[in-house]
Amino acid sequence: MNDSVIGKEELLKRYEEVARDAVQGGYFLNPDTDFTKNLVRGLMVNEQRYGYPACPCRIASGKREQDLDIICPCDYRDPDLEEFGACYCALYVSGEITKGEKTVGPIPERRPPRSMRKSVSKESSAKGPLTVPLPVWRCRVCGYLCARESPPLVCPICKVAQDRFERFL
């Protein structure tokens, strides 16, 4: 596979965007900027390769519908931040880690193994019949809920795309 080279300025621009979005959303990027920039470079490489910024620390299939859960920010970021103080890649870290009160250690893979992976379906977490005037959609990344005919094109909270939503009610 040939990846085109990512320029320094291009990388810096993207890094600043990721950093700005993190701050706006109440998240922190890893203060080790060289490490973090390499991860951002990985996201850009994956975007060129697959057409979406798949997690740089996981192997992507190249099929968006199979990789929805690992498009950065992934579905596992928040539970890993909660439990380990960092996302799987350590691109996002907790406030304690940015302050140097804690260090990042290896984070076990939360994503189910291939054999147990269900394709992410819009209906996946909707249970039994419940009569609501409108469907309720849940953002799988940040948990934002909204009641409308279809999910928003972009999550107003964490900015992920429409296909990261699942039917909640």
Partner: protein, 93 residues
């Protein structure tokens, strides 16, 4: 057979690293192996052709069912998953 890149160094047994070219922890693991100066082979699974990726993933899953990276395999038996610096140092020094 998946083609691996061989790095010369001190013989500490068969040391094989399955990594991704974009992954920060994989890079740290690779650097550590270089610092330790041990003979090893590595492969960036994401840079392989699709059929080779499948073969490599099946191989990784034999040692590490989650199929995650980095996966370090020593003498076809000891498996270290993730950048566990202390564990890697102890296993290879």
């Amino acid at each position: 057979m998946i083609e691996m890149t061989h790095i010369d160094g001190e013989d500490k047994g068969k040391v094989v690293l399955f990594a991704l070219s974009t992954c920060g922890w994989c890079a740290k693991t690779k650097e550590l192996l270089a610092d330790l100066g041990v003979e090893h082979s590595y492969v960036y699974v994401d840079l392989l052709e699709p059929d080779e990726i499948e073969e490599a993933l099946t191989e990784v899953e034999r040692y590490n069912p989650s199929g995650s990276f980095p996966t370090l395999v020593i003498n076809d038996s000891r498996v270290i998953i993730g950048f566990r610096e202390q564990e890697i140092r102890e296993a290879l020094t």
